[in-house]
């Protein structure tokens, strides 16, 4: 590798690399994202190397094997895709590799047992793009994930990588770059949805010798992994986005703040940075221009609140990662008191392609004031879970029933929680809501960084509020009173209701307390902290009232309010439940109805799980 001296040379390299890719369209794509690696993808790569070397199949050399980033469908992993026909194999084991090489690769035969089975139609699907999970997505930020090898800059250059940077450096000024980003309507993907271009413009306008760019890769929401996947699977798109931002605001130094639990992301980002430095894409006089920029990685401290902008900047500066109250915004006085742009990983990943294809292209996707797409991590009681990206304005119904394949076991849908721990829950009547920043906020939830948890009728919404509040109580940094004490008390009150000890006055008190927490808290954690309560009381008040007035948990979840009893007419006396009960709470003779002793029952549910005759009732 050597320095790419100028944009023309970069273009030449792209043309060469892309031509090479075209000459060798045959590929074995093995997903090597964190999920698939955990399920044994490394052994599969090794097995492909061994078998391909041995078999010597035309155009399918060892080099055809590509280790890509996450496809988002980790639960079906390890994934293997055979290109160019796009044959899609799921849950591949090392022992399957010989057959894949001999049959599919050598003879084009399809190995049906390895194909994905559509959970609704039960049909085996042959091709990647025919899988419903992928077919309804539009991928912009995740455009290269699962397509290119994550840790090779040549792969990125082959797919027009750094062409946006070259275009910006040679044909644009900082102002025209910012104009384009403003025109594209790109809003921050990390939570608040603040217009990125506006942030850049303000930062640029602050007179200072030093400006900073920071990329927020803290991703603290439990279960969310959009940013991780991008950093692992397509690190160069993040770097390129940061470089374009640096050019626009006049920054010479950038930082990527990566959460400590993401070791692979750190390795791939560092490799990408090293490759850029070796190729003259980072450092002094990038591509022979007078633009100079460097990027350093910071490892996060691991607390949820470190993702908050002021806490993150303190952490980058080597101080305690705690939010700081400031009435001067960080675009004016941020890291080391210098003007700083902080954007999310996904926000930056969108930037290069916007600069290449133009703002008009970007605004043609999505909906009004919400252009482009958004990545979500879809989890919970849906058949297909994983990382997805859809055009803004896609309805919850499409996401849950088309991409997600509907609710597990065909149970009724009850609610979807969006926006991470401090987001909100939306009920069935909202299924046709277009998913965008404004619609979610207007209806009491939020976009957050894109968590989406689907819940079925067996979910108790009071218990859900209690659960998310307990997360927030333990993640509150404890600096300010409304959040530290207020969320604690709000959580205590939800426990009281779950225990059947709540009153209607408690609800009034909780609503008032929530208001004070929102107004009084120092940072976004406290300010959005009451959301789990506020959104559930808004849409599921009846369920709260059932706990309070009737001492009943309609979903059968809150232990204090439910009892397990054997239905005598259904019980066959099979004794399965006696063995399952760890608390010796069940007695009964063979072939006679059994009996649950309420004084001993710990309400663990083990008996229900083993009873094949639906003979145990939970009420």
């Amino acid at each position: 590798m050597c320095i790419i001296a100028n944009p023309q040379e970069l273009k030449k390299r792209h043309v060469e690399l892309a031509a090479k890719q075209e000459r060798f369209p045959k590929k074995v794509i093995v997903c090597c994202g964190t999920g698939c690696l955990a399920n044994g993808a490394r052994a599969i790569v090794d097995a492909f190397h061994a078998h391909l070397a041995e078999k010597n199949i035309k155009d399918f050399t060892v080099e055809a094997v590509k280790e890509t980033g996450c496809h988002g469908f980790c639960e079906q992993g390890p994934l293997v895709v055979i290109e160019p026909q796009g044959t899609f194999y799921t849950r591949v084991k090392p022992k399957d590799v010989a057959a894949i090489v001999d049959k599919t690769i050598a003879n084009g035969e399809i190995l049906s047992p390895l194909l994905y089975k559509d959970p609704v139609t039960e049909h085996r699907i042959e091709r990647y793009h025919d899988v419903n999970f992928f077919a309804h997505q539009s991928r912009i930020a995740l455009r290269n994930l699962g397509k290119i090898a994550a840790n090779d800059i040549r792969e990125y250059i082959a797919v027009e990588g750094y062409q946006a940077l070259a275009k910006v450096l040679t044909t644009m000024t900082p102002d025209t770059v910012i104009d384009e980003i403003i025109k594209s309507g790109l809003r921050g993907r990390g939570g608040g949805g603040f217009p990125a271009g506006k942030k850049w413009r303000t930062c640029k306008s602050v007179q200072s010798d030093i400006h900073y760019v920071i990329c927020n890769g803290d991703e603290g929401d439990p279960g969310a992994f959009m940013d991780r996947s991008i950093m692992e699977g397509d690190p160069h798109s993040v770097l390129e986005g940061m470089m374009i931002c640096a050019f626009a605001i006049g920054a010479k130094q950038g930082y990527i703040y990566v959460r400590d639990e993401y070791p692979l992301a750190v390795v791939h980002l560092q490799k990408a940075i090293d490759e850029c430095e070796a190729n003259g894409l980072l450092g002094d006089n990038i591509l022979g221009t007078d633009f100079s920029f460097r990027i350093r990685i910071n490892r996060g401290a691991g607390a949820f609140v470190c993702g908050e902008s002021s806490a993150l900047m303190r952490s980058v500066a080597g101080e305690v990662g705690e939010p700081r109250a400031k009435y001067i915004r960080s675009v004016v006085k941020g890291l080391h008191d210098q003007p700083t742009v902080l954007n999310n990983v996904e926000t930056f990943a969108n930037v290069p392609i916007i600069m290449l294809k133009g703002a008009d292209w970007f605004t043609s996707i999505g909906c009004k004031n919400n252009s482009g797409t958004k990545a979500f991590s879809l989890v919970g009681k849906v058949r297909n879970t994983g990382l997805i990206e859809v055009a803004m304005g896609t309805t919850l119904r499409t996401i849950i029933y088309e991409i997600g394949g509907g609710i597990l076991e065909n149970r009724p849908f009850k609610a979807v929680q969006t926006g991470g721990p401090s987001g909100g829950c939306l009920p069935e009547s909202m299924l046709d809501l277009p998913v965008d920043f404004d619609s979610l906020t207007k209806n009491g939830s939020m976009m957050g960084s894109g968590g989406m948890i689907v819940m079925d009728d067996k979910t108790c919404m009071v218990d859900v509020a209690r659960y998310f509040l307990s997360f927030l109580v333990s993640e509150s940094c404890g600096k300010c009173v409304p959040c530290r004490e207020g969320l604690y008390q709000l959580h205590e009150l939800t426990i009281k209701i779950c225990n059947g000890e709540g009153t209607e006055e408690d609800l009034v008190r909780m609503e008032k307390l929530s208001e004070s927490i929102i107004v009084g808290s120092l940072c976004g954690l406290g300010k959005s902290g009451p959301n789990p309560f506020l959104s559930t009381i808004r849409y599921f008040r009846d369920e709260y009232l059932a706990h309070i007035r009737e001492k009943r948990c309609p979903a059968g979840v809150c232990k204090s309010l439910i009892t397990y009893t054997v239905l005598e007419d259904k019980c066959t006396g099979c004794v399965a439940c006696i063995t399952a009960c760890a608390y010796n709470a069940i007695t009964g003779e063979k072939k006679k109805p059994h009996f649950i002793h309420q004084d001993k029952c710990e309400k663990c549910g083990a008996c229900v799980a083993v009873c094949k005759f639906d003979a145990i009732e939970v009420k």
């Binding site: 009435y327 404890g478 600096k479 300010c480 004490e485």
Partner: protein, 262 residues
């Protein structure tokens, strides 16, 4: 900082202030009673207790208003401030109510609660209350002086003030600035004979040349002589009031020496 004079409106009255100075300072100067539990002149504002919040607006905000902590809000021309509007009072009461649940026996909080007409907390009092109100004055003073001997530990509701690992802090010089500035006297220390104990650490005292009475700890004296150009005879004073004054002034001393170090 600019020294531009600006005019703001506080509770309907026109008030002159310096642009950029903290609003709470202006309110105090005007004799307006706004509670403030985590503010201390020797250290930077913190924004932790939130009882100093006031409502602000400006003519050009078209009726929109905001709630801000006055202790760290920089004053600008045309600011219109309400220190006791309904919204402010309601919020302050909830916060005090919450604090009373955490510190039910602490006189400072009891008094503030009484001022706002709260007799007992409407929330669930914590199981084992103490007198620490987590204002962070102690840690900030210690940090400002450059010792960094104590800090907050644990997140959220379990937050506490403690030395690292709960052991006698190596960098503590026994200056007492933390203890003497603690608004609730929660930090305990003992001076007995020529020994001082604070944070489980024992110190030997320097003695007054004339009377032989203990003055300050040897570590603190050495530090001041070495790093702060304080003449040795400064330590001859030994009575309680002087010590408190010294402790309070340490913040200011630290501030100018920090400037020097730049």
């Amino acid at each position: 900082m600019s020294m531009k004079t600006v005019t703001i409106t506080v509770n309907g009255k026109l008030v002159r202030a310096t642009e950029g100075e903290y609003l709470l300072k202006v309110l105090r100067r005007e004799g307006i009673d706004v509670p403030a539990l985590c503010q201390h002149d020797a250290v930077e504002p913190y924004g932790g207790c939130r009882v100093c919040m006031v409502e602000i607006t400006k003519a050009e905000w078209n009726g929109w208003s905001d709630m801000v902590t006055s202790c760290l809000y920089p004053v600008a021309d045309g600011l219109i401030v309400q220190t006791h509007s309904n919204q402010v009072i309601e919020l302050r009461k909830t916060i005090i109510d919450l604090m009373l649940a955490r510190n039910p026996h602490t006189p400072l909080i009891q008094q503030l609660a009484a001022d706002y007409g709260i007799n007992s907390t409407s929330f669930q009092p914590v199981p084992e209350p103490n007198d620490c109100i987590l204002c962070g004055i102690c840690t900030r003073i210690c940090d400002t002086m450059g010792f960094h001997a104590i800090s907050t530990v644990n997140r959220g509701h379990g937050r506490e003030i403690a030395p690292p690992l709960g052991e006698a802090p190596e960098s503590c010089v026994g200056c007492l600035a933390c203890a003497l500035n603690c608004p609730t006297n929660y930090i305990k220390f003992t001076d007995s004979g020529k020994t001082r104990t604070i944070w489980k650490k024992q110190f030997e005292m320097v003695t007054d040349k004339r009377t032989g009475a203990p003055t300050i700890t040897r570590e603190f004296a050495e530090y001041l002589i070495a790093h702060r150009n304080i003449p040795a005879d400064y330590f001859d004073l030994n009575d309680e009031s002087h010590r408190k004054e010294t402790a309070t002034n340490m913040g200011a001393i630290a501030a100018w020496s920090r400037e020097d170090l730049k």
